[in-house]
């Protein structure tokens, strides 16, 4: 009789210097359990024994149904491997490990393409020598592709114009369809697309509504003016989506955004059927990318909105902006990022920002997904220059910025926390430290999480916040009633100090937690 047992394994991956526990439901067998080579947890267990075969199968099917084949073909014919990309990679800069050179990583995938999907590869294997794909090679590929933060910084230094980020994307996609995908991404996506709450953080709607009411009251007590988070208002110009984690962690960002919308009289709404912009499909699977994008589109159509407005989040903005035109099966719906809108409103004279409130030294971190193509680069800087007196740039910046170290979905993989702190995020930490800034503005949910952990890990006394957190401090609300000591209720720097901020965050979180519990019960 075959007995099913619950088994927990502990494995140490020396290269990452991290210990992870993996739980697996597997059938008891006489042989001792084999340690799996993955440092991040693979959700679909057991890991396929024939993963080389499965990888090739999914690779072949992907090449048949998508546009990746011609790009791989082009890269295979023209990749000169000059290695210039190496020096631009923040991971390679720290490790110096040749396996972390972007074109060496891409070569893993391109070589498989050449060997199994071109006549030349077949001939070579037949007459010169074969180098078949093995399980071990698939394991190496899996590890290599998730050491990359998909920041695409290497692509701007490649003289040929090869986009290693695209190859990483394809490789992760093929791995995913072969059953090798990080649990941190899969579990969240499962809840978002197939779960009860329909969002990655399992926040139920009643909890969300409670939170929004709390934020409205909180804002009024701080600034003496009312803001609104409209819900399910049909016909609004903008339907707003932000990472659902913002409702748990980023009270000031949300209040700042609502303050901008209220002060400028923008017609906007949130939707009750979809309030999570996170799209992990961008990091590991095109089918997921399509499905999540369609939840945004369906909600926008349900609410008869004109445009999709994405909050402070790099990957969510890029996933929507770049791929909604691809996956939209109906009338075109434009996508814009909140910083684009705030900039437009500021330029139009609809916002008044007090230049005397923010006295700390501030620097700006460019989220890769917003900055690499130059999409949202100047707008946040123009906004900051409008009310921040002591603004310093980190170097390099804008399109040439360094990744926070948690890009490509890796910020959601707690198993590689040490890797993110000591390797992936090291360059960013050094950059921030060099500026001497007290505040780093990071308008992205992933970057904020990674940078807060990074500042904490390296004990840098730097606050990490969103752009709209600062705007909330400085905005002059029309018709504000004086609160406390100051007219127009502009809070001083200490009123939303890190301590206050984190306390409010905690209150906010505990409210949501309570609501989640009551909803569960």
């Amino acid at each position: 009789m075959v007995e099913t047992v619950k088994e927990t394994k502990t494995e140490t991956i020396a290269e990452h210097g991290t210990t992870v526990e993996t739980g697996a439901e597997r059938k008891a067998a006489p042989a001792p359990p084999k340690l799996q080579p993955y440092f991040y947890h693979v959700d679909r267990v057991p890991i396929p024994e024939d993963r080389a075969q499965k990888f090739l199968q999914s690779f072949a099917v992907i090449l048949r149904h998508t546009n990746y084949r011609f790009v791989l073909d082009m890269y295979a014919r023209s990749m000169t491997r000059c290695g210039r990309c190496a020096t631009s990679c923040p991971v390679y800069q720290v490790t110096g490990d040749p396996k972390d050179i972007p074109c060496a990583r891409s070569k893993l995938i391109v070589d498989i393409y050449k060997r199994y999907f071109t006549p030349g590869g077949w001939l070579r294997a037949k007459f010169i020598g074969d180098d078949p794909l093995t399980n071990q090679k698939v394991d190496e590929i899996a590890e290599s592709l998730y050491r990359c933060t998909a920041c695409r910084r290497c692509s701007i230094e490649c003289p040929m114009g090869i986009d290693h980020g695209l190859i990483t994307h394809l490789g992760r996609y093929a791995l995913s369809e072969a059953g090798i995908e990080p649990k941190g991404l899969v579990v969240s996506t499962r809840e978002q697309l197939e779960g009860k709450t329909r969002n990655t953080s399992s926040v139920p709607l009643p909890a969300l509504v409670d939170s929004l009411e709390f934020l409205e009251e909180d804002f009024e007590s701080i600034k003496g003016a009312k803001i609104r988070f409209p819900m399910d208002e049909e016909g609004a110009e903008y339907v707003f989506f932000t990472p659902v984690s913002d409702y748990l962690m980023e009270a000031e960002s949300l209040m700042g955004i609502a303050a901008v919308m209220t002060a400028a009289g923008v017609s906007w709404t949130l939707g009750s059927q979809c309030y999570d912009a996170i799209n992990y499909g961008l990091f590991y699977n095109d089918w997921v990318l399509d499905r999540v994008n369609n939840t945004l589109l369906d909600e926008t159509r349900r609410l008869k909105g004109d445009k999709i407005l994405i909050g402070e989040c790099g990957h969510a903005s890029r996933a929507a902006k770049m791929f909604i035109p691809t996956f939209n099966r109906g009338k075109p719906i434009p996508v814009i990022n909140i910083m684009e809108l705030t900039y437009k409103l500021l330029e139009a004279g609809k916002l008044e920002l007090d230049p005397n409130v923010v006295t700390e030294r501030v620097t700006y971190h460019d989220p890769c997904n917003l900055a690499r193509t130059g999409w949202v680069v100047d707008q946040p800087r123009a906004i900051l220059h409008a009310f921040v007196k002591d603004f310093v740039e980190m170097t390099p910046n804008r399109q040439n910025n360094y990744c926070c170290g948690g890009g490509g979905g890796t910020v959601s993989l707690d198993e590689i926390h040490k890797f993110r702190m000591e390797i992936g995020g090291r360059r960013k930490m050094e950059q921030i430290r060099a500026t001497g800034a007290e505040i780093v503005v990071a308008p992205c949910a992933n970057c904020k999480k990674q940078l807060r952990e990074l500042m904490n890990y390296h004990q840098l006394p730097v606050q990490v916040m969103g752009l709209h957190d600062l705007i909330m401090r400085a905005i002059r609300m029309p018709g504000a009633v004086p609160v406390g000591k100051e007219a127009n209720a502009t809070p001083t720097a200490t009123e939303i100090s890190p301590a206050t901020s984190s306390r409010e965050g905690a209150t906010q979180e505990s409210q949501v937690d309570a609501a989640v519990k009551s909803s569960d019960s």
């Binding site: 199968q57 999914s58 099917v61 992907i62 048949r64 149904h65 998508t66 546009n67 084949r69 011609f70 790009v71 073909d73 082009m74 890269y75 014919r77 023209s78 990749m79 000169t80 491997r81 000059c82 290695g83 210039r84 190496a86 020096t87 110096g96 040749p98 050179i101 074109c103 060496a104 070569k107 692509s155 230094e157 003289p159 040929m160 114009g161 090869i162 986009d163 695209l166 369809e177 899969v186 996506t189 499962r190 697309l193 197939e194 699977n285 095109d286 089918w287 997921v288 990318l289 399509d290 499905r291 770049m322 791929f323 035109p325 691809t326 996956f327 939209n328 099966r329 193509t373 130059g374």
Partner: protein, 233 residues
């Protein structure tokens, strides 16, 4: 020896040039076809052509960018490309080889072209040393990377020596090596990474088009792999 040299100057060169031209033309046609077909399949066809063309042109003369990353390798690479291309195309003796086809264009006079060739040769040698001795470059180098560099060094080096009065190697031997390695390189162009000389204008565009996915690609992949019912996440 003379007959061999005549053969190299005549039929061998014609053959190598034919392979080069037809092979590269095939590569370009395949590349253009791939771009066109992918754009046709993609539902989003908005390509930032302006940015693509601008960036592609910037990297043709990347003088303002070379210092940013691997400066020694980058400058060496730039000057080797410059030296090899100019000395291959604008040496009077090379132009004369094509006079039979009725083709002709101005040449770069000696001794300037000699200096240009030397610059290219220096760049090639630095790159070879880099690929041998620098760990980072060695890690991404394969047999062909070294083989092509050696062939290029022999071609340019022997070509340069052939024009020097102080050349201690017999002229005919020098020319034999020069033409033999040169013809080999011409034949290798379409089948190796050297194809980038023709594909360069298309690579950056391909990267942009590559991000334009097919609308049903993800669903079709799932249906093919998991059946019409699809799969759970």
């Amino acid at each position: 020896m003379d007959a061999l040299l005549d053969f190299m100057r005549g039929p061998l060169l014609a053959f190598a040039l034919m392979v080069l031209i037809l092979g590269l033309a095939r590569q370009v046609i395949l590349g253009l076809w791939g771009i066109g077909e992918s754009l046709h399949r993609a539902s989003d066809r908005q390509i930032p052509f302006g940015r693509v063309i601008r960036t592609t042109m910037t990297w043709v003369f990347p003088v303002t960018r070379l210092h940013r990353s691997k400066p020694v390798f980058s400058y060496a690479s730039f000057f080797f490309h410059l030296g090899v291309i100019l000395s291959a195309l604008f040496l009077q003796e090379h132009i004369d080889l094509l006079s039979g086809l009725g083709l002709s264009w101005p040449s770069i006079p000696r001794p300037l072209i000699d200096w240009i060739a030397l610059l290219g040769l220096a760049g090639l040698i630095i790159i070879l040393l880099y690929r041998i001795y620098v760990r980072q470059s060695r890690a991404v180098s394969g047999f062909l990377d070294y083989f092509i560099l050696v062939l290029l060094i022999l071609t340019v080096g022997m070509g340069y020596l052939a024009g020097q009065s102080w050349n201690v190697i017999p002229y005919k031997v020098t020319m034999l090596i020069h033409m033999g390695t040169g013809a080999t390189i011409l034949v290798l162009f379409p089948f190796t990474k050297l194809a980038h000389c023709a594909l360069y204008p298309l690579v950056r565009l391909s990267s942009e088009v590559g991000w334009r996915f097919t609308q049903e690609g993800g669903s079709d992949v799932v249906k093919t792999l998991w059946g019409p019912e699809g799969r759970k996440i």
